[in-house]
Amino acid sequence: MESELSGISNENQISFFGFSAGSFSDSIFNIYVDAWEEVCSNEFKNSLKKLTDKDRLCLLSFPFSDKTNEKAFKMMKRFCVTNIFRIPASVTLPECKKMLIASAKEHKSLKQVEKEFDEKLEKIRQLRIKLAKRHDELEAVNNAIEVLHVMEKSQEQLISQKRIVPDSPTRMSPV
């Protein structure tokens, strides 16, 4: 009982409900005290006007010093803590769900993670170097293609000119 009034289960109750089970039952008790006080104050103005201050105080306090009532309130508190507001052990609060999943895995140590990360960074670096080389190679090929393209155009033009101006006897110089 006492261990449930503080510690993890208490924290979980506050986290979920906004209040702990113990404080809820305390609030109920306070409601009884307030209600009885209001009722007594009202009667002190009317039928119980003649009571002395000492007697009034006695009347105000007697229900809460009554043995039966004390037991009832204690039972209420115990019942709130152990039953009504108890959060089962199988429950994972929403904010802990991520950690539950993380703890369920076999998570690596931080050093191992750093080592793997360094390895991956090195691999990225090498891949980028390789990519740069491929890029240069591609540019070289493109340049070669461009040069050959120009050659192809020029030679095509030469071939065309040769056909247009063939040798002809009529063009020979007279002898």
Partner: protein, 163 residues
């Protein structure tokens, strides 16, 4: 209706019943009135106590209902039942019996760090995959352009033959 709600109401009713009964059965006021000579007979004292008990009962009920409504206790009970079902299902998937309880702040921090580290590794893997994809595209392009180069070289040689 939630089981917790029923149990809570039953408990509150029982407590109030016990309290009211103790008021009605009390002899304190009668003793005071006898001792202090208040000129009240037994019937009058009983009537006053009955009236007070009834008023107290009514006020307690009102205040309790108000508090329960203000804190949304019944809705939270329903949420707890749903969360319990979800948690048990998740435990079944993960092969656990207990939910997660933050028992150690260091451990929680370590879990968060490992989560972050896992994310780092995942991002590094994504980057590697991306660069490898680019590399493959680049190599395909090189192969295609080399093919074009070869064809163009053939054409140029053919033209030179004609010349």
């Amino acid at each position: 209706m939630s089981q917790r709600k029923e149990v809570l109401n039953q408990m509150l009713d029982t407590t109030l019943e016990i309290f009211t009964k103790s008021l009605l059965e009390s002899q304190d006021l009668w003793k005071m009135s006898s001792h202090r000579k208040l000129n009240m007979d037994k019937a009058a004292v009983d009537a006053v106590m009955a009236r007070m008990a009834k008023s107290t009962q009514q006020k307690v009920l009102e205040k309790t209902d108000q508090m329960i409504k203000e804190n949304s206790v019944y809705e939270l009970f329903d949420d707890m039942e749903q969360l319990t079902r979800e948690s048990e299902e998740l435990n079944k998937q993960l092969g656990r019996e207990m939910g997660y309880n933050p028992v150690n702040a260091k451990r929680d921090v370590a879990l968060h760090l490992s989560e972050t580290a896992e994310k780092m590794l995942t991002e590094a893997d994504a980057e590697i995959e991306k660069i490898e994809k680019e590399l493959k595209a680049e190599e395909d392009e090189i192969a295609r352009r080399k093919q074009v180069l070869k064809e163009l070289a053939t054409i140029v040689e053919s033209q030179q033959q004609k010349l």
